[in-house]
Amino acid sequence: MSEIYSPVSENELSDFVKQCFADQTSIEITGHSTKPIGRFIETSKILQLKKLDGIIEYFPEELYIKVKAGTSLKLVESELDKKNQELVFEPADLGHLYSGKSNPGSVGGAVACNLSGSRRFKVGALRDHILGIQGVNGKGEVIKSGGTVVKNVTGYDLSKLIAGSYGTLLALTEIVLKVHPKNEECQTLLINNINLEKALSFFLKSMQTSFEISGACFYPQNMSKFFKLNDLDTSTSITALRIEGPKISVTERINSLKNVFDEYKKNISILENYQSRIFWRDTSDLQFFNNSENIIVKIVLPPTYVNKFINKFENEDLKYVVDWAGNLIWCEVPKGDSVLLRQLRKQIIIFNGHMTIIKAPNHVRIREEFLTTVDENIKMLSLKVKESFDPKKILSPGKMYLEI
């Protein structure tokens, strides 16, 4: 078993890493240890950031919150809620996926994984909402970048680089996140019983309107059974389009949108505010794969290729849900089926997309590539970037690629 260390201050953390740097001791960095994402690695020590917690400052009128990296996302979201604000990128609560119950983990963990919810295609990813970071690099030095303001081009934007780096560059200590006023109203236009191809064409059509769609997902038949919403018909496929904003405007846009798909009016229904919010929260939280024992992958590719891609696997009984207006496919692969996993990866490369393994048994995390990157030049540059932060490669080594 690796030795677990949970520093209570940035100074302690810095001293710890300095010592590990001197001894060349490898460290796996975790937040609350809720998301076993990335290649399976074994390090001498585990650095948990959960005791570096607490909100440092929150200024609703300045639209930012500054927290210590180990602060729980739940706490942040409940503080923001008191001021009718939110993290607009809808950080996923992957506790449902990993353990069958809510456990969203820490802000630092969310940043390290750069996971964003259903609004992704409209408001950007988590990485678009980090204003500044501070953390300890592989030499034990405290490094900062960014600030608390939206417009800032002073020096390289390290916040973006750190988001999605899975703890391989810095042990985060402080994070400044942009916050956003909550939308007054949320409604969802549901179209039942259409196929994926049709759903994608509806996404396309609705994106060409000025109705500011903020969610667009497709549940094939049998994938939505977990929902327990009065007004949701889960007996067929579901295509869902979300509209948010001031109530009067939402109602107006939903009605206009309905007219766009008039020929399908028999299949159309509207999910009201309360149920809509549950629907999209559950979608972002991957409730459709709740506590799955299989391999869960995230596939990103240009929307125009999604249907062709899925068709390649029509004989495979692939379980999937499409989100982000056709930019994202969540997919379940039986845990023993390495062949299928590799076929998926092969096709994704052909379609200019990428696949990330989000959940898998440890033996799969050891054996299979976590990411898809094929360009050796990019891998080489990534390695150099890694070494610029962590010259002895002691921070979560091998988490992203075998050598990074």
């Binding site: 009128e61 300045e62 639209l63 750069n114 992704r120 990813a125 990485r127 678009d128 030095e141 405290v142 490094i143 900062k144 600030g147 608390t148 303001v149 939206v150 417009k151 800032n152 081009v153 002073t154 020096g155 390289y156 934007d157 390290l158 916040s159 973006k160 680089l161 988001a163 999605g164 560059l169 006023p181 909550k182 396309l204 994106m207 000025s210 500011e212 904003g245 001031p246 009067i248 405007s249 107006e252 990103v300 240009p302 929307p303 930019n327 994202l328 200019n352 990428h354 898809t372 990157t373 360009d375 030049n377 990019i378 540059l381 990534s382 150099k384 970037v385 890694k386 610029s388 932060f389």
Partner: protein, 498 residues
């Protein structure tokens, strides 16, 4: 000629100029290599025109392969390269070096693909920001970042500077709107980061490149996302008897849960200057005006206009006008958009500063600027992207009066230091370049800067791409932010410095 300390000129390279010119002609059309002393004059400065330096040679490649071959050659032969887009940058990021190859991207001027289905445009980097919107506006789409130089600035330059504009609060800056690039590293390596898909995996190298001021690579192709135009856009023109009231209104609008598409504050000197220049019809008996632009569906905009109107009244606005049509809305903006030429009419020279501050600090920072204006005996007018806290003080001076440029620069530096002290940053959208290089230590310590320099080395091991920009040279942050360079020499020259 610039008085700033720049990287040491490599006399060996300068002596090899004829050979270098001959070699460069092998990589591209002969006419694309410009080396005559007079003919390189148009490239001697960017929009920070107080600093000038003719490059050794200018090369204007026509495709990615040429860029790659040129960079590889320069890397192998230890020749510095300064990349240049449209040359509209305000911080001297494209200022040439005496011994450099200036790599101009002006021939990369074609839009390659418009893909409405995937809502993106693939373009060469020399295409202007505005022409992307022009290319898609017939289908009611647009490209969101709109720096004031959008008619002339190139999209490649926008990537280098992470350009913003007046709509950044709601729509983000370049980094939030770019999907992919093709980039050539100093050693000639060509790579594609991102593309038409919405996001990439692995390290966010695209995010790192954006705003890196041409220090990490040369962008040869860009994919940006395009947005559907909002159904309705309206604006309010509000006048207040104090800057504090205007500032409070901005805070209250955001506290009311409204994110306007744009919010701009101008102070009294600027109101008068822009009104005289553009006849925008601004109220002149106020201390500050605030323009608030709202977009969305018709009914949404109407609801928001009403809410903003309420907030303005609560903050004792003495002038409230809501645009009745697009022509009137454009008139509200007319003066604001003419801010620079208006100041140009008032003063033979001016410099434009670019700090960002927390919105609530606006009155405090403006008071300090007034104090500094008296101290330096130079006039100043202020415009403020209030939505995102980006402040542009315009410092007026006369370059014919000896020492006024220096005084203006010191005044500007003091403003930026105060921005940092107030919780803000040195530059919101113009970049660090050479202009704010020596101020970096106001925000960053030695470790921070060394980390950034280490990243630079990861991309460009010999530090040949755009050297002398962004990061302070020849001193440590622990020392003072400025140093006196006399005859190219500084004190303690044997101390290792960056």
């Amino acid at each position: 000629m610039c008085a700033l300390a720049m990287p040491v000129v490599d006399e060996v390279i300068l002596n090899l100029k004829d050979k270098i010119v001959r070699d460069l002609k092998k990589f591209t059309n002969l006419n694309n290599v410009i080396f005559d002393f007079d003919e390189v004059t148009p490239y001697e400065t960017d929009a920070l025109s107080a600093y000038k330096q003719k490059p050794m040679v200018v090369v204007l490649p026509e495709n990615t392969e040429e860029v790659s071959n040129i960079l590889k050659y320069c890397n192998q032969n230890n020749i510095k390269v300064v990349p240049r887009g449209a040359g509209t940058g305000l911080s001297g990021g494209a200022l040439p070096l005496k011994d450099c190859v200036l790599l101009g991207l002006s021939k990369f001027n074609k839009i390659l693909e418009i893909d409405f289905d995937n809502r993106c445009v693939v373009t060469q980097p020399g295409v202007t920001n505005l022409s992307i919107t022009k290319a898609v506006e017939n289908n009611e789409f647009y490209y969101a970042p709109d720096p004031s130089s959008q008619i002339a600035c190139s999209i490649g330059g926008n990537i280098a500077e992470n350009s913003g504009g007046v709509h950044s609060l709601k729509y983000g800056t370049t980094t939030n709107n770019v999907l992919g690039v093709e980039i050539v590293l100093m050693d000639g390596t060509i790579m594609r980061l991102g593309g038409k898909k919405i996001e990439s995996e692995g390290y966010d190298l695209l995010g790192l490149i954006t705003g890196s001021e041409g220090l990490l690579g040369v962008v040869t192709e860009v994919t940006v996302k395009i947005l559907k135009k909002p159904q309705s856009i309206k604006a309010l023109l509000l006048g207040f008897q104090s800057v504090e009231a205007a500032g409070q209104t901005v805070s209250d609008i955001i506290s009311a849960g409204i994110i306007p598409a744009g919010m701009e504050v101008m102070d009294k000197p600027l109101i008068k200057a822009t009104n005289d220049y553009s006849k925008a019809g601004y109220p002149l008996n106020v201390e500050a005006i605030l323009i608030v632009e709202l977009d969305g569906t018709e009914s949404e905009v109407n609801v928001l206009i009403e809410k903003v109107d309420d907030v303005a009244k609560k903050n004792d606005a003495t002038y409230i006008r809501i645009s009745k049509n697009d022509a009137e809305r454009m008139r509200f903006w007319l003066g604001r958009k003419a801010a620079f030429p208006a100041i140009g009419e008032m003063s033979p020279d001016y410099i434009c500063m670019d700090g960002t501050i927390p919105r609530k600090k606006l009155p405090e920072v403006l008071k300090e600027i007034t104090k500094l204006s008296k101290k330096y005996g130079l006039r100043v007018a202020n415009c403020f992207h209030a939505g995102d806290g980006n402040l542009h003080p315009l410092i007026m001076f006369d370059s014919n009066i000896k020492s006024e440029l220096k005084k203006a620069e010191q005044f500007g530096a003091d403003i930026l230091k105060y921005c940092v002290k107030s919780g803000g940053v040195l530059t919101g959208e113009h970049g660090v370049g050479i202009e704010k290089r020596e101020l970096m230590c106001e925000m960053f310590n030695d470790d921070d800067i060394q980390q950034q320099l280490n990243i630079k080395i990861a991309f460009d091991k010999n530090s040949l791409l755009n050297p002398g920009k962004v990061y302070p040279i020849l001193h440590r942050c622990a020392e003072s932010g400025k140093m006196h360079v006399h005859k190219g020499e500084n004190k303690f020259k044997d101390i290792p410095r960056f």
